[in-house]
Symmetry: C2
């Protein structure tokens, strides 16, 4: 099969490798229908040291089950499924609490063992927990916009949803979303779903913030840093936002977050932090009792109700996709996301 | 009157200064019955640069109202009152949300404007919000242990309570408390009140941890650092604690906290951070969706029910006091707390 590998910053290649096979009785093999490129894939695209060994790429897909191991009962050959970006058994103590990204039998794609999902075929570990069937949809005949929205449930929309969920939003509150990438826009849509009254989107790319307004943003702040902080304070009677959803992952976005969070409010991060140390002392979080939450989204825990919302048209998160490429064109897809020509790139398998 | 001033690290002096007077119609003057020395007073005791101008000290007292300004209606001359360690109007938007330490008309004691509370008399700003009457108690005849417990409601017990409250404890959960100082022991007592099933107290002073066990600790871990982390993991099936109440304020205590917090759990800090930057990236908080909460305790918001609990004997937080000094002996009280000869020192006014 063909699959995507990264050999260093900016060096993405499509290669032909052996088809994955069932290794454990809990595995399934899925034939990819749609995959996509994640904002987090751009972090290694900027910084991965050059290597003679390629890193398998991709962690989002919808597809059709080709084969299942002897212990797989939740899905069967021919099922149309969504694969959350982390695999999990969905039965361990953490999964039962809705924190599938801490599953004791779980893990991440994009390792030599599990491979990446920007590929024609994928081996899905712990398939009983890691795949969710979408009943009543035939991927060969389904509307492109439906497929796009279902694909966002693999990661991007439900990562935005996780930010809003962990912020413990209450109806009527003011939310600020930092970042107008696909996760930030998804966080806007999720905040709206969860009852936020005012949603301030901080981003400076007008084509993107326009989609944010479609998704429910009531205000757009293009300024950054001290100026952006002041704008948000001005918009909130000097108080700041009850919840700040940080969908970037770079330190300046976090610094902006504690500048605009209301005393007693919550900063909820879903952009993978590209830093380890950051201010959390009296002058940033402690003095105003600001809280910090977030992490890798336990997409699996949110998946079934979100599928319903997509199928019944309540939400249409697939609008974040603005470009579609073939698997052979994936390197160009990375380049387009990197230069911000594309917001989010879908990969359509043949 | 006599009052306490600090002129630099280790240099605490009792001086005679003019009696405070009503400056604003919202002020009250209170005659101190009992004050005390706070663990947070030891931070400047270690590090305050020497100066020719003394810093007024103290932020905890119970006392009797001597005089009130023309707009003060909540208390009257002769009332026996508790003063929370931060003053607040208790009516602003943040006070109404229970975050009195963010009061837009509030502030801290120990500044040249407001003075300190380790003094014979104190000017209390925003007295309608900042003082709470304790009905039915005559401080001249009340039991010493009752006065001690009421005094803890000015800060130390309700600071421990804030840690437990912000950790959103659910009955049956496992809590780890870092620090066997008076706040840590108070956090144990509060966690027990809030239904924690297992309370692991991390501290190495056996006389203190013994009181912690009286307050409800089920396990004591004397080890620190990597060894202490491993002990807590061993005690929790490798999972860590649902809530970690950090009652120290130094960076190693925070590092211990993220080492022992369970995936999805909460670190709640009430020790005033003696650091600004600390790890919060993938390897500390983000990867396991650990949350961070805490800050200066809005004691005022918790005060009335806590007074009831002290009066009816449900809680006896005053046991944290193990030494009583006169105002003139306050410098010796600081020294005794600094060398850990005393856990917490009460100041008994003549």
């Amino acid at each position: 099969m063909k699959a995507t590998f990264m050999y260093g910053a900016g060096d993405v290649r499509i290669e032909t490798v052996p088809d994955p096979i069932i290794q454990e009785p809990t595995d399934a093999i899925v034939r990819t229908v749609r995959a996509c490129i994640c904002g987090s894939d751009l972090h290694p695209y900027h910084s991965l040291p050059a290597s003679g060994i390629g890193t398998p790429m991709g962690h989002e897909l919808i597809g059709v089950v080709e084969e299942v191991g002897s212990q797989v009962t939740a899905v069967a050959k021919g099922d149309f499924v969504i694969a959350p970006f982390a695999f999990s058994d969905n039965t361990c103590v953490f999964c039962r609490e809705g924190l599938n990204t801490a599953c004791i039998h779980g893990g991440w794609y994009g390792t030599p063992e599990t491979g990446g999902l920007q590929a024609e075929l994928a081996r899905i570990p712990q398939a009983n927990g890691s795949l969710v069937r979408v009943a009543g949809v035939d991927p060969d005949t389904a509307d492109e916009s439906l497929l796009a929205s279902l694909l966002t449930l693999s990661d991007v929309y439900l990562t935005g949803y996780h930010a809003a969920h962990m912020a413990q939003l209450k109806p009527g509150q003011t939310v600020a979303v930092i970042g107008d990438g696909a996760v930030g826009l998804s966080a806007v849509l999720a905040a709206k779903q969860l009852g936020a009254e005012r949603i301030i989107l901080m981003g400076r790319h007008q084509d993107r913030t326009s989609l944010g307004v479609q998704f429910g943003a009531t205000d757009v702040v293009a300024e950054r840093g001290a100026e952006g902080i002041q704008r948000v304070l001005d918009l909130t009677n000097g108080e700041g936002a009850h919840a700040v959803l940080e969908a970037v992952g770079h330190l300046p976005a976090y610094e902006q977050a504690y500048g605009i969070v209301r005393p007693g409010g919550i900063i909820s991060r879903v952009g993978v932090p590209q830093y380890e140390e950051a201010p959390i002392g009296f002058g940033s979080l402690f003095g105003k009792n600001a809280r910090l939450a977030g992490g890798p989204a336990p997409v699996r825990a949110y998946l079934e109700p979100a599928i319903e919302q997509v199928l019944d048209g309540t939400i249409n998160p697939g609008k974040v996709f603005d470009r579609t490429v073939t698997l052979d064109e994936v390197p160009a897809g990375y380049a387009a996301m990197n230069t911000r020509e594309a917001l989010k790139v879908m990969v359509k398998l043949a």
